[in-house]
Symmetry: D2
């Protein structure tokens, strides 16, 4: 691909993305945590307050859920968005949530602080353009089988609209290995730092698909230079409507946060 | 995935999809041919007439082109659609073309006889729903790294709207092999026949990325039971705005058609 | 890899490999059939005679079996080799069988007509050298994740000994798809024809791992230009000590041979 | 996977492997460093002393080199082994080196402290048995496309001989991504800890294929719980006979060792 062209900043400066009071790409490692899907108002507000107290910097939760089968739970939509906004009011945590359809961008942008583009939509170019035009910060997940180059060029679709508030999220790629849900490409973290000016975070929950693997892989990401983490936490993973097996309990999340602190310090960051 | 649920027909009947005067899934192997992208009016009409004379059953051509980089040629859009419709008037060949955005479904459906969902959008669920609702026949390409199950469940999103006019298209999956653009999963042809009631065709052009590989792989597909082929033909592949290296010249297309005839007969089909 | 160097024949001639009275790479498509593992004397002789009558050109069967777990059945070794030789005496079919250890090459070469290098050993370079030095015809299976280039360079290890009697065997590569045991790379057939002077055959049994997929994929291989097929047949697949699910019954093998005949003719070959 | 059987230790104890004065699997993270291939006596002794002074715990270097092409440099063989033994005398660092042929095990075991099984030979079962029988500690690299299960079952071939001195080495798997040489499966580190009693280390040099990626990925491995690292260091990477692009200079190795120290401490280990 000789026509490759990534936008560059002057003097090789790096982009810092600002979401509410949070800065991604600066000295602090930002932990975005929350349930896979928004399942109910009280549950969400309760877990959000707990996560805030444990050190989470942002709240994640899905209102629109992409599901492989049309017969699975597909999210609470508008209702879910309102609950997320309410949880932000209560906790002060900025909210990141997925948008799947270009026609929903305006609606989601009304409630969320950051728009997430999921893996399946990484090359949904009209959606990329629309979130770019919204001016909101964007979290761009890597496609299941996207090369680094394709991922960075997808980001370029957003950057080309003039919106530079883009954070990349490695979330595991599809390989032959089946013990894990996906294969976390840990090298993607330093590779993005080498090839692009954008911040990059890691999602160990989707990346591994097994909650026991989440803490060691989260630690690996911080050691490798990640600017943040996206972690699924559910009060009762065994009852979750989606992604239970990869969700941490609040207790395990607290334990992980405690372990991450000295690690972040060891690589010159805070958390 | 225990929740797997594919719709079934009574008595294990198989679906036949009707596009204009063409039937896909019946005794005839349908060859859809044309340029990757619509590049100009005269060129399109001229090549369409040639393809028709050589035995093509449908015309393919892109008006909206998904491109990895935002800086590549992205298609003629509305103008391209009109040219395709005009080529149909002249030749009588039904037209299949890609739609990438749910908001364009109505527009594309006005001009095309069959709506194509490209690989990158196989799990763009709102788009699947929209083409389903349009009532038009749909050509659903397999995602670059979609399992057979995910592909069939994506089809289910369309079937769930009540629109059963769906044809599946294997177009190569992403593997470690780089000599070919993708790896054609030839077993997908009999696998779809085993698992689903829908017709299935093969795209050897995208599947291999090399025009010299197109004829042998096209023959393999017919021998394996494919209901059709999707083949890129360009009057001057070396000047094509996209996908030149994988396009056949009209001469080579004619040669392939001649070779396919006895093969189709050998497996009890016509072409 | 800039140092790539494949040996070439003068005038782009193609190699024909002679095994007993059989020629691989000539006008005839050679079908090598037999059980995965040699399990017993009488069973082997009985099935060999049946296969011979049905049109098989060579007999396959494993005496040394590579197994993922050390606790699985690992073959009858010397006893198995003697049974294979006896089956050849009875039927006249040349025998191909796997050798896994450089120290066994002499022993296996004493009984077999063609030495098979299995997928796991494609880059076992000292074994390649040893089978090369034996002067016997070699069947070189593609490694599970070998690129075309690595496969052809592995062949080069044998050719470099002066032994040019090498047949390549595509047997499926490892990908993310799990419905099939491996993914048959059908394009490998014409690709080898393009890049090398060596004959190439296909093993649809290991390639698909499902007996129902074997006939359509075998037909695809012949249509794509394969010089032969390697097919597992077992009198009672449900009782096989290994690879039962991918073995044809003799009845299904007969049916396949009947279907292959007109196909071979349609591509200008006999079977 | 019903026949899966991994040996277990009583009370879920973990194995510690002893190589000379070095313990792998204990509190210390062991760094094995050295050139890809032994290229000459003086160069090797000189670099070994430097690495020792910088904190390396073991010396690595290839005497027998598996090469994709038979026309590449294939190692100094016996001469290389003697140089490695001499470097050990001078520095006191235990030596790990690859053995590729069952017939060479006795020879290599005479000079080396630990026998390495390379990726290409992970399922070379007669070689596994032979290194098992040698009684020497073994470093078992993961095959290029081996699942966790296949890797652990390959280890079982060695364990079944009664030799329990086995260390596993993740070195990247083959995926579609081509910017890196392989894709480091970082989750393999905690996965091995979960599924097996054996120590596990990581080779970021082969895993990434780019020296700039080696330090961040080495740090990720330590954070994820690796018991050691295998790192290529060459005095002049641009002149290396193999693997130059992925080799660190001694200066960069020193820098990495300095950065690893606080990280190891942060996860409760020393280095």
């Amino acid at each position: 691909m000789k026509t490759l062209k990534y936008a560059r900043l002057e003097n090789n400066a790096r982009t810092i993305v600002t979401v509410g009071s949070v800065q991604i790409g600066g000295p602090q490692v930002v932990v975005m945590a929350g349930p896979c899907a928004v399942e109910g108002r009280e549950q969400l507000i309760s877990i959000s307050s707990v996560l805030k107290a444990m050190g989470a910097g942002m709240l994640r939760g899905g209102a629109f859920k992409p599901r492989t089968s049309p017969y699975s739970f597909r999210g609470l939509a508008d209702e879910g968005l309102k609950m997320l906004a309410e949880a932000r009011e209560v906790t002060g945590l900025p909210v990141v949530t997925e948008v799947m359809d270009a026609r929903d961008v305006e609606l989601v942008a009304k409630y969320a602080d950051m728009l997430q583009i999921g893996s399946r939509n990484m090359q949904n170019y009209t959606l990329l353009q629309e979130v770019g035009d919204s001016g909101k910060p964007v979290l761009l997940k890597r496609g299941l089988s996207a090369t680094l180059e394709e991922w960075l060029l997808a980001a370029e679709y957003i950057l080309a609209t003039g919106n530079h508030q883009v954070v990349l999220c490695e979330r595991g790629i599809r390989t032959f290995e089946t013990w894990t849900r996906n294969t976390v490409d840990i090298t993607a973290i330093p590779a993005v730092k080498e090839l692009s000016h954008l911040p990059v975070i890691l999602d160990p929950s989707h990346g591994t698909g097994r909650w026991k693997m989440v803490p060691p892989v989260a630690k690996a990401a911080v050691a490798a230079g990640a600017d943040g983490l996206l972690i699924e936490v559910h009060p009762k993973p065994e009852n979750a409507l989606s992604d239970g097996p990869q969700s941490l309990t609040p207790e395990n999340f607290q334990k992980l946060m405690n372990e991450l602190e000295p690690l972040a310090k060891a690589v010159g960051r805070s958390i």
